[in-house]
Structure formats: structure tokens, C-alpha cells
């Protein structure tokens, strides 16, 4: 059956055959992982709908706005300041990087031992299957890890609209000055792209939209502290993932509606898993759609995920931006302050992250922490080694997992996760 969006995808220059295959796999995966769950909150219907239209209606909506002059900015990282993008009247979307695609093509451009996330972003470009990437007016790359910053040199040969933002690697004064300079440069680039000046009013509006989204997610996080948890970890992760794609105001409303329902569920002790189900904190690399492998394994092994210490999770959502400034300069300072606190593993040293994991494990009453790193992601892999002894000192059981997007190690992962759950249960 031909999709009603075929014309739209074709106009974006996408490979329809390959894209059909991708959607079929994505649809099947979504059915198996999400729709098969028992006793989901009704509020998840909205997210089911968004996912079923993630390459359809949402793109159509964005392209219609684009015809009215609204620019689309694509990003691969939570360091891209959403407040500034919104202040310029543009929309910000996360670009696809959560599934293996066109790997033979990718390995002609990148070494085999590159992490799955980077390879995936190239696969979606080379395979011409990401409508977000193809509709973007600007793609923002950011100098986080070596893998990403070097591969942007290669991505720059494949796209005409890449903007690379430099990022600091320490939390020193000089490092903060670099971030500030880069955000100022980015604000100028946004003004140039959109033709809209960034003013006190527009910045305040951008901050308000972005903060509201974060506050709604903070509400969701807080509700997950309940035992039994009123929502599965998979569904909560999905809400985080959708936050990268959806129109922000509508997203915020939907998350708040979900939270209203969850408050009732907590009162009535309605849950997805029985009380006393072992509680797991997932920590480490980001999980982009449709990278659901590990959370799915965890939640089908008799445990529930209570939090994500991840860019797609609390690392990306923690802290609001102070909106009290009365001029552009002080609002920009507030934005820099907020982003400078992100405890990504590219920073050295990065003790904040370890402290946050310990704090989250306590707050969410986690029985154990699963450290998840993508193969070849040195920053998170190396931090996981150090975290092992820190967690031991804190008396928090920890399992270290290194994997990628392929299903080939699912059975071995299952054994390890099940054994970990038996151990902490």
C-alpha cells in the first residue's frame, strides 16, 4: 500500500524502497517492545500516535511551517542550546542515530570500529532514510568526543549545511568562556539563518518553552520514584526520546496529561510491574530511537527501570535555565550556565557524573545500576571502569554492559542482565 506521504518523502530526495524497509522494521520493533506491554497508562496513546507518524505527519507539519518561513535545525547532541534555536523562531529536532542502516556504505566512509551512534547517523544520511535530516536547513555538529568531531569532517562532504560548534572539555573558567563564545557565535548564525533578531523577548520565550518541556519531564521523573512504579521504564524512555522530535508545546501538554494520570495511578497503586520488582537505574550512553535493545532486555528479565542517567534522560533534562535576566547578555549567560553543568563523559575530570549516579540511585531507590556503553565509545567505557569502584564503595551493585545496535548479542546480554537481577533481587 502506497503511503500518503510518498510524494513528500520523494520531494525530500529519500530512497523510498529503503525507507519502506526501515519503517517496517521500526513498526514491528515498536509493536514487540511497546505495544506488547501490559497495563500501560492511557496517556501513552499519544506517544504511540507520535511514533506511528514520526516520519509522516510530524514531517508534514514541519514542512508546512517551513513554507511559512520557519527554519528547521537538526542536532545530534543535548549541548545544542534549544532556547537560542527557539528564540530565533526555528524548530529543533534530534536527528536519527539509533539503528544500523546501510552499514556497507558507512564502512566505506568511517572505520569499522566507530561507535554505533556515529555510524548510524551516517547510515541514515547515506541510505537517504531520515526525513528530519533531509528537511533540515541547518545540521549542527558538536565537538564532543573524538569520534564525533572527526566524523563531522566526513559528514561535511555529504551535506551542504553542516555547522560545527566547538565545545570545551573541562569545567575551567577558560572552558566556560569557550562555551559562551560558541553560544554567541551560534546565536548569530541562527539570526542569519532565520532573519529573526534574537531579543530579550524572544530569548525569554525560547527559555519558557524549553523550561516547560523540562519541567514536565521532571514531573515524570519524580513519579517514577514510587514503588510500584506507575509507568514502565521503556515508556518513560520513549517520552524522553519523543521530546527530541515533537512540537515542544504539544509535547509538554501531553507529558503533563500523562503525569496527571500517573499521579492517580500512584495513589491507587496501579503499576506495570508488581511491588518489590527489582529497580534498575540505567546509566551511560544516550539511547536514540529505536535503540530499545537493553531496556527491553532489562524489563523482560523481571526488573523495572526507574531512571536514565543519560543524555536521553536526566543528563539532558537536568536544570532549568534562569529566565530572570533583563538583557540579552544576562540571558545568554544564564543559558551558558545551564549547559555548562551537563556532565557528559567528554569532560575531564567528571566527578559530577559519578555523584549524580549515586544520588539518582538513592532518590529512585534503585537496587542496582547498569552502566551501558556503546562499543568504541571510549569516554563512557573508561568512566564505567572508574564507576565500578565508586559504586562498590557506595554499596550499590553495578553491571557493566558494552554493546551496540545489532541483535546478535541479545541472548548473552539477557543472561548477564537476568543474573544481575537474580543477584540484587
Amino acid at each position: 500500500m502506497a503511503s500518503e506521504y510518498e510524494g513528500m518523502w520523494k520531494s525530500l530526495g529519500m530512497d523510498l524502497g529503503a525507507h519502506d524497509q526501515l519503517l517496517a522494521v521500526l513498526g514491528q520493533g515498536y509493536t514487540d517492545v511497546f505495544l506488547s506491554q501490559a497495563n500501560r497508562p492511557k496517556g501513552m496513546d499519544y506517544f504511540n500516535f507520535v511514533m506511528s507518524e514520526v516520519h509522516g505527519l510530524r514531517i508534514k507539519e514541519m514542512l508546512e511551517a517551513k513554507e511559512q518561513g520557519e527554519k528547521i535545525v537538526g542536532s545530534y547532541c543535548v549541548f545544542v542550546p534549544e532556547e537560542i534555536v527557539r528564540a530565533a523562531g526555528a524548530t529543533l529536532v534530534g536527528l536519527c542515530s539509533g539503528a544500523d542502516f546501510a552499514m556497507e556504505e558507512v564502512e566505506r566512509v568511517l572505520p569499522r570500529n566507530t561507535c554505533a551512534l556515529i555510524k548510524s547517523s551516517f547510515g541514515f544520511k547515506l541510505g537517504k532514510v531520515c526525513p528530519y535530516l533531509e528537511s533540515a536547513d541547518m545540521i549542527v555538529g558538536e565537538n564532543t568526543c573524538d569520534g564525533k568531531k572527526k566524523s563531522y569532517e566526513e559528514l561535511n562532504k555529504l551535506v551542504s549545511n553542516l555547522y560545527v560548534m566547538d565545545l570545551p572539555q573541562t569545567k575551567s573558567e577558560n572552558a566556560r568562556a569557550l562555551l559562551k563564545a560558541e553560544f554567541v557565535r551560534f546565536a548569530k548564525a541562527m539570526e542569519e539563518l532565520t532573519g529573526n533578531p534574537i531579543t530579550v523577548e524572544s530569548l525569554k520565550k525560547g527559555i519558557a518553552i524549553t523550561n516547560a518541556k523540562r519541567q514536565a519531564m521532571h514531573r515524570l521523573e519524580a513519579l517514577r520514584k514510587a514503588d510500584p512504579e506507575p509507568i514502565s521504564g521503556l515508556d518513560a524512555l520513549l517520552a524522553s526520546q519523543v521530546s527530541f522530535y515533537d512540537a515542544p508545546v504539544r509535547f509538554t501538554e501531553s507529558v503533563n496529561a500523562l503525569c496527571d494520570e500517573l499521579e492517580e495511578r500512584v495513589k491507587d497503586k496501579v503499576a506495570v510491574f508488581p511491588e518489590k520488582t527489582p529497580r534498575i537505574l540505567l546509566s551511560g550512553c544516550p539511547m536514540a530511537v529505536p535503540n530499545w535493545k537493553l531496556p527491553w532486555i532489562v524489563e523482560s528479565s523481571g526488573a523495572v527501570i526507574v531512571g536514565e542517567e543519560s543524555c536521553v534522560g536526566e543528563r539532558g533534562l537536568r536544570n532549568l535555565t534562569d529566565d530572570s535576566g533583563q538583557d540579552v547578555e544576562s540571558l545568554m549567560e544564564a543559558i551558558v550556565d545551564r549547559y555548562f553543568k551537563i556532565d557528559c563523559a567528554i569532560f575531564t575530570p567528571n566527578e559530577d557524573r559519578a555523584d549524580h549516579i549515586v544520588q539518582m540511585a538513592k532518590d529512585y531507590k534503585a537496587d542496582g545500576v547498569i552502566q551501558y556503553a556503546l562499543n568504541f565509545c571510549q569516554p563512557y567505557q573508561i568512566e564505567a571502569m572508574g564507576l565500578e569502584s565508586r559504586m562498590e564503595k557506595e554499596g550499590i551493585p553495578m553491571l557493566r554492559i558494552e554493546t551496540d545496535y545489532s541483535p546478535e548479542d541479545a541472548e548473552q546480554l539477557k543472561t548477564r542482565v537476568e543474573a544481575f537481577v537474580e543477584m540484587i533481587g
Binding site: E402, T403, E408, D409, E411, Q412, T415, A419, E422, M423
Partner: protein
């Protein structure tokens, strides 16, 4: 009551029947390409009150045969503590997996490590190498013990290690020396896993590879301690599964009283 424990590994499956805390029957067969069919064969003519499955085929059996399932990590810990109540560290090398486990003084698992996705350092590696050196698997350890030290295999990868072995043969190295080097490479890998979980005496060595005398000798040499090895080292998982069934039944009957 009779408690059955079935360990469905990648290469072989083992069955233990437990009655009044004693092993009354044990059997072993190849897993082959039809684990469910093989499981039916190994269970033929037997009766039991509760069946607990472990190993990589545990889910298959628990779905098809109304059995409980536990991971091989837990099964080995239970089985080993039955045989060696003082055990603090376990090394299990089976056909497809190598596992290292640290136990608390009360027998609970405190940490474990498992090889990920490839056959490096497992029984499969030794089997593959025995074939490439034209040695029967059962005699491979004894053969390696006749080798002289001085040759090194550096690759952990089964395929690359064979390439290395082939080039050593081409240089005129003796097969027994190469066999010894291959054993050393598995031992190195096992040691790094053991060290990661933390080494506490006594260390118990289980799994089919614990029957290999060269592995035992090299491990004991490098650890500078002696290893405890069960009489039937490949049975530990099945024994642990049966024990799990028994303790579960006890917990149930206490709860219903």
C-alpha cells in the same frame, strides 16, 4: 520429592535428579541442533516433581516443559556451594561461555564477569584449536603438557589464533609447543576475568574445560594456589538448578503452613 535440574549448554546438556538432598541420577548428552528434542531424550523414562532449567536453552525448556528457569550464573553458584561450602570464587569454562564469579562468605554472588559475544577463551576455542592440530579434544590437554614453553599465541580471536598457529607451524614449531601456547592464551583470559571479580581462596573450577589437565596446571601455576575441581565439573550447573527447585519447594511449603 524428586527435583530435576537440566543445564542446556551450547555444546552439551546435563541432567541431575535430586532426592532427599542426594543425587540419584545424572546424565549427559550433546545439545546438537535440536535442544528441545535432546532434552526430551535425556529426560526419557524419568519422573520428577519439579524441573528447573538453566543454560542458554533455559527459556526454551521452561516454556515447553512447565519448568522454572534460572541463569547459569546462579545455578553454578548454588551447585558449587553444595560441593564446596567454603567456595569464594568460581571459574566456569563451558562450550560457549567463560564466567568468573565472586561469592560472599554466605554464598551470595557479589560480582560476575562473562565473556561477550565471541568464543575467545572458551571451550569452543580449545576444541577448534585441537582440531586444527589434529588432536582429539579429550587428549588435547595432556598433549599440551608435553609441549615446551617459549612459544606465544597473542591473539584472543579464535580465527586469528588459528592463523597465528599456522604461521608458527610454518616456522617449524612443534604442535605440542603450540598447543601449550594456546592453553596459555585461554588461561590469560580467564585470569583477567578472575582478577576483575576479585580473587578469594578457595577457587572452584567448573565446566567441561576443568577436565583439561593442562588448563588446571597452568591456572594453578599462575594463581599460585590449588583449585577445587568437582568430580563431574560439567554437572555443577544442573546440580545447582535442581537445588534451586528444592529450596523453592521448601520456601513454598513454609509459606503455605
Amino acid at each position: 520429592m524428586i527435583f530435576a535440574g537440566l543445564d542446556i549448554g551450547s555444546r552439551s546438556m546435563e541432567l541431575v535428579l535430586l532426592q532427599k538432598g542426594r543425587v540419584v541420577e545424572w546424565r549427559k548428552t550433546d545439545t546438537g541442533y535440536d535442544p528441545l528434542g535432546q532434552a526430551s531424550l535425556i529426560l526419557e523414562g524419568l519422573s520428577w516433581d519439579s524441573l528447573t532449567a538453566t543454560g542458554y536453552g533455559r527459556k526454551l525448556i521452561s516454556d515447553a516443559m512447565n519448568a522454572q528457569a534460572i541463569t547459569e550464573i546462579q545455578a553454578h553458584a548454588l551447585g558449587v556451594r553444595e560441593l564446596f561450602p567454603e567456595a569464594r570464587t568460581i571459574l566456569d569454562i563451558g562450550g560457549q561461555d567463560t564466567k568468573a564469579m565472586a561469592l560472599l562468605p554466605n554464598g551470595k554472588i557479589s560480582r560476575f564477569e562473562m565473556n561477550d559475544r565471541c568464543a575467545a577463551g572458551t571451550g569452543k576455542f580449545l576444541e577448534f584449536m585441537a582440531t586444527s592440530l589434529s588432536q582429539p579434544l579429550e587428549e588435547f590437554g595432556g598433549f599440551a603438557l608435553t609441549g615446551r614453553p617459549g612459544v606465544a599465541i597473542n591473539s584472543m580471536c579464535t580465527v586469528f589464533a588459528e592463523t597465528e598457529a599456522t604461521s608458527l607451524m610454518a616456522k617449524g614449531c612443534k604442535a605440542a609447543d603450540i598447543a601449550l601456547a594456546l592453553h596459555h592464551s585461554v588461561v590469560r583470559r580467564s585470569l583477567s576475568m578472575l582478577k576483575r571479580v576479585g580473587l578469594n581462596d578457595p577457587v572452584v573450577f567448573t565446566g567441561g574445560v576443568a577436565r583439561n589437565p593442562c588448563m588446571v596446571k597452568l591456572l594453578e601455576q599462575d594463581l599460585a594456589m590449588s583449585l577445587c575441581i568437582p568430580e563431574n565439573p560439567e554437572m555443577t550447573g544442573a546440580l545447582g538448578a535442581a537445588l534451586y527447585g528444592a529450596s523453592n519447594a521448601r520456601a513454598h511449603s513454609t509459606a503455605s503452613k
